[in-house]
Symmetry: C2
Amino acid sequence: MNLLLLSDEHFLSPTTASISGYQFQHLKQVHKAEIGDTVKVGRINGNIGEGKIIEIHADHALMDLHLSITPPQPIPITLILALPRPKMLKRILQTIATIGVKHVFLINSYRVEKSYWHSPLLHEDKIRENLILGLEQGIDTILPVITTKKRFKPFVEDELPAISENSRVIVGHPKASVPCPQNLTEPVTLIIGPEGGFIPYEIDLLCANGAESFNLGPRILRVEQAIPALVYRLLADQALSIG
Amino acid sequence: MNLLLLSDEHFLSPTTASISGYQFQHLKQVHKAEIGDTVKVGRINGNIGEGKIIEIHADHALMDLHLSITPPQPIPITLILALPRPKMLKRILQTIATIGVKHVFLINSYRVEKSYWHSPLLHEDKIRENLILGLEQGIDTILPVITTKKRFKPFVEDELPAISENSRVIVGHPKASVPCPQNLTEPVTLIIGPEGGFIPYEIDLLCANGAESFNLGPRILRVEQAIPALVYRLLADQALSIG
């Protein structure tokens, strides 16, 4: 945790917050925090700054906050992801938040098993919990917006064109002959398939609706590896706030 | 598992292998394999090809093998990594193998806790097990070589210059003002610090021994995210066999 990310319910006043739960445990056990210490703090969808510990109790601490730094610029990528296996979803949500992607559609695909849609990890509060963990790692405050779409064809035909308007739409596909683009500065809609990949019908439908397919070399990465690999390969320095 | 990776002990003859353990379970449960089916198979440090199932027993199967395809070209990166927390090490070893890095040094650093060096995951057979899982994901056969170095200063001063000879030596450092290089075709020695980063003394010593520091933007990635992000950002298409 590189940032303690607070939501509205933590705030007792605009400059005072009460920290409990895993964040309080982290303060005590990792930071060995004592009264007077300061830690990096952010407010969900707000600023970043410092929190000074003013009281420590058995199960919570009080902090004085000074939040004056704006969070890093979002990554200009909308991510469309075939719903991952529940086991992977948690880490993938954290990765998305850490990297700075703010708009994500979890979609159906032939190789997405129906049972994945019933995972408790898709409950709103579980999604939020993992996004917050990811933001705390990446030192950001802006919660990504995760939308689920359970029908592939209507999504691609009826919604993708509007979602991806004014962006470069690309889909990873091991059999594509075009190499992954680089140094992009314009907005990107990045589509990543399920384990085993999209089936040819799905690739064809995506390409008929504005997507270009590309390859990332012979190695098949896991989704949680492919997301950082693709985001950092596709974008120019300025889009990643590098340098 | 995108490849069934076999070691010498699986081979009954140069073209016949016996599959048991988790690989047999995967064949039965995921591939629902039957006699006559073929699956993608590789031999550790050898070729890739097809295995045809010729017998299925209670706890093993026999395969006829035809291995004629050479594995993908290694990634021209030597990775020097501050020893990660045991909890992360397993996934990091898998990631390294999946991505195609073949030479890794796990080193000490001020922020590496002493207890990490006693993790059972550092036992040779556990390292090998996780590397094989990573290679099976990435469809590769060449086992990475993992070396541990428990003393930072002697490693950097006495060994790094020889290890990194004829390569570009770079170290990720959030405070560096130089952006992460791109499109490299020459060999790279990539140095990644622990959670919390290298301390200034360590960065200085690395830079005094040939390393350049660079930044990857404001977001702090986990090591298992930083490895794919950096490898795919640093290298040119040809070094990644893309296109």
